[in-house]
Amino acid sequence: MADKSKMGMEFPVYTFAVEKDKIVEFAMAVSLKETREQINPIYYDEEAARRDDYDGIPVPPTFPTCSFFWTGGGLMGTIEALGINLGRLLHREEEYEYFGMIYAGDVITRTMKVIDMFTKGKGKRAIDVTVLETQLINQKGELVIKYRTTLMEI
């Protein structure tokens, strides 16, 4: 069961670089395509992106969650820190708020904290809910994206 003493816990701050080819790989995965040429050109061609009014190659809307897996010991490290059992883990909700853009070449600092922990239901049907809030800050110190992840342990 999720360890409720972790309510309010702040995870270590991590920094990661947004690699151009990781954006292509991610865009191919969510577009269900086999080659780079089949995806939206804004994800690999900087000129195409600039023609579309971007300041560089942007990331897809759900790309920010990669930070959860690339930092802080990844999925296993994070759920172990929270006392969550992998075999009972379900992802319940995800919500992003976009204040700016993340572009290829940016260096992003991630902060993440536990903002809510509670139990729904009783006895065998009890479900533990953990809510995490992540902020992604770019190399200019701008908060670009904030997102909330709701995990359930059934």
Binding site: K22, E25, F26, M28, A29, V30, S31, L32, N40, I42, D52, D53, Y54, P58, V59, P60, P61, T62, T65, C66, F68, F69, W70, G74, L75, L86, G87, R88, L89, L90, H91, R92, E93, E94, E95, Y96, E97, Y98, M101, R148
Partner: protein
């Protein structure tokens, strides 16, 4: 061709977006791209161990597909908020039984504009969004808020 605020009407539909049937290879590609190596999404023996009959797609892969549907309509830079609740699991297509299993693995994204408003000098609209399979089972429901030029 870029979408404008005046093109959007309350009650109008977002263009429907339909995928190919999700295969195990698609799931593995997403695992590698995102870093989400929860074995529930690729290892049949792990799925069995926790009492499930099959591996399932990542919820965030379905949300990522919805994200592509949204941005192919409005563009990434216009998105302000995007949130979903995951409702049911998605099993991939079985390549040795495509006919019987392709519909459960085909994802259809639909949306409807529910609100138009001005905020902080921006023209914004809110759209409800759902993902379902070709059998009608809902995978997620949620919303997004975007801004558009006049």
């Amino acid at each position: 061709m870029a979408l404008k605020y005046s093109d959007i009407e309350i009650g109008s539909d977002m263009p429907e977006y339909v995928t190919v049937p999700l295969s195990r290879t698609h799931l593995v590609r997403y695992a590698g791209a995102s870093g989400d190596f929860n074995p529930l999404h690729h290892d049949q023996t792990f799925a069995k161990m926790i009492g499930m009959k099959n591996i399932i797609a990542h919820g965030l892969l379905i949300m990522g597909i919805a994200g592509e549907a949204i941005i192919s309509w409005i563009g990434t830079k216009n998105l302000r908020k995007f949130g979903v609740r995951f409702l049911s699991m998605t099993e991939p297509v079985d390549l040795d039984d495509v006919e019987k299993t392709k519909d459960r693995a085909t994802i259809i994204i639909k949306g409807k504009v529910i609100k138009k408003y001005k905020e902080n000098g921006e023209n914004k609209f809110e759209c409800e969004i759902t993902a379902q399979d070709a059998l009608g089972s809902k995978k997620l429901s949620g919303f997004f808020i975007a801004r558009l030029p006049e």
